[in-house]
C-alpha cells in the first residue's frame, strides 16, 4: 500500500514541464501524502507501547516528517509569493564604483535559498 502511494507522488512531480499547468495543482497529491504520513506516524507512536519492533522504523519516520514539512512549507511560500512579493530588507554596500560592484547582504532570505535549492532539484531536464 505504502509503495503505491509513494510512486504516485513521484509521478506527480514530472508534469512540471507543462509550463501552462499550475504547479499548485500538482502539489495537491502531496498534501494527501502528508496526511497519510501523519496518520501512519500516530499509529506507529501508539504501537510503540505494543511492540518494540516498530522502533526499527523510528529514524525513517522522523526523516519523512521533515520532508513532509518542507513540501508543505514550499507550497505555503509559493502561495504567499504569488499573492504578493514580500518586502525584503537587504543591505547594499558599494565596494567599487569603477567598475561598479555592490555587495548585497541578505539579498535572499534563508527560506528563499532553501526553496530555490529544492526547485532546482524537482524541475525536469
Amino acid at each position: 500500500m505504502s509503495t503505491q502511494k509513494s510512486s504516485s507522488t513521484a509521478a506527480s512531480l514530472n508534469p512540471f514541464q507543462n509550463s501552462w499547468f499550475n504547479p499548485t495543482i500538482l502539489l495537491l497529491p502531496l498534501l494527501t501524502f502528508g496526511y497519510f504520513q501523519w496518520q501512519l506516524g500516530s499509529i506507529s507512536e501508539l504501537s510503540e507501547f505494543l511492540s518494540p519492533l516498530t522502533k526499527l522504523g523510528g529514524n525513517s519516520s522522523a526523516l519523512s516528517k521533515e520532508l513532509k514539512d518542507d513540501v508543505l512549507n514550499y507550497e505555503v511560500m509559493r502561495q504567499q509569493y504569488a499573492a504578493q512579493c514580500p518586502e525584503k530588507a537587504f543591505k547594499p554596500h558599494i565596494f567599487s564604483t569603477d567598475p561598479l560592484i555592490i555587495y548585497i547582504e541578505d539579498y535572499l532570505s534563508l527560506d528563499e535559498t532553501k526553496y530555490l535549492l529544492n526547485l532546482a532539484l524537482v524541475i525536469p531536464l
Binding site: S2, T3, K5, S6, S7, T9, A10, L13, F16, S19, P23, S60, S61, L63, S64, L67, M77, R78, Q79, Y81, A82, C85, P86, K88, P92, H93, F95, S96, D98, P99, L100, I101, I102, Y103, I104, E105, D106, Y107, L108, S109, L110, E112, T113, Y115, L116, L117, N118, L119, A120, L121, V122, I123, P124, L125
Partner: protein
C-alpha cells in the same frame, strides 16, 4: 517508501554549465567551467526575486532578465576567470547578480576578481577573504549564503569593462550553489513575447 521519495528528491536535474566562446554558445568545456547549471522554471518565488533584481537596478523592465540559473559547484569544480560580456554581443549583459544559495561546509568557492586592487576597510573582511592564499590576487568574496554580489559589466558607453574579470574559485570541500541573474540591455527573449 521513504527511500523512494528521498531518491526522487535527490535526482540532480542539473546539466553541465555551458561556456560561451565568443559566439559559439552552448559549448561545454570542463577545463574552463566544471559546474552544473539548472535554469529555473516559472515560479512565484522566482518571479519575486526577479522583481527584486530589476527594482534594485533602478526599476529595469523584468523582460530584460535572462532566466535565472542555479549553478552547483562540487569539490574541485570551478569557473576559471572570465567575463560575462563578449564584445560584439548584440544584446549585452549589462549586469550580473551572483547570489549564494548554499555552502554546505564548503571551503574555497569564493568569487574572485583578480584585477580589482586597492585598499578597503578591514570591515570588508566579513565578506572578503582577507587571508586569501590562492595566489589569484585581487579580491575574493567569500560564499555567504543569502548574500549577493552585483556588478556592472559595461562602461556607460556600452563597451565591456575589463575590471569585472572574475572567477568561481575551486571548491576544496563541500558543495557551493549559487544563483546567476543576468540583466540584458534590451528584452532578453524578444521572440517569446516574455
Amino acid at each position: 517508501m521513504h527511500l523512494l521519495i528521498i531518491a526522487n528528491y535527490s535526482i540532480p536535474y542539473y546539466k553541465p554549465s555551458p561556456v560561451s566562446k565568443g559566439f559559439e554558445l552552448k559549448a561545454y568545456d570542463k577545463s574552463i567551467r566544471s559546474s552544473e547549471s539548472a535554469v529555473l522554471p516559472y515560479d512565484a518565488v522566482v518571479s519575486c526575486i526577479e522583481r527584486r533584481s530589476v527594482d534594485f537596478q533602478g526599476y529595469q523592465p523584468i523582460s530584460h532578465l535572462e532566466d535565472i540559473q542555479v549553478v552547483k559547484y562540487g569539490i574541485s569544480d570551478q569557473f576559471r576567470p572570465h567575463f560575462d560580456w563578449f564584445s560584439g554581443m548584440a544584446n549585452p549583459r549589462i549586469s550580473t547578480i551572483f547570489a549564494y544559495l548554499e555552502c554546505d561546509n564548503c571551503v574555497g568557492g569564493a568569487t574572485q576578481f583578480p584585477d580589482i586592487t586597492g585598499r578597503f576597510s578591514a570591515k570588508w573582511c566579513t565578506f572578503i577573504d582577507c587571508e586569501d592564499d590562492t595566489g589569484a590576487g585581487g579580491v575574493a568574496f567569500k560564499p555567504v549564503v543569502g548574500n549577493a554580489i552585483f556588478w556592472s559589466n559595461l562602461y556607460p558607453n556600452g563597451t565591456g569593462h575589463p575590471g569585472v574579470w572574475h572567477a568561481g574559485m575551486p571548491v576544496k570541500k563541500g558543495t557551493k550553489v549559487g544563483l546567476n541573474i543576468f540583466t540584458r540591455r534590451d528584452v532578453a527573449y524578444p521572440d517569446e513575447g516574455k
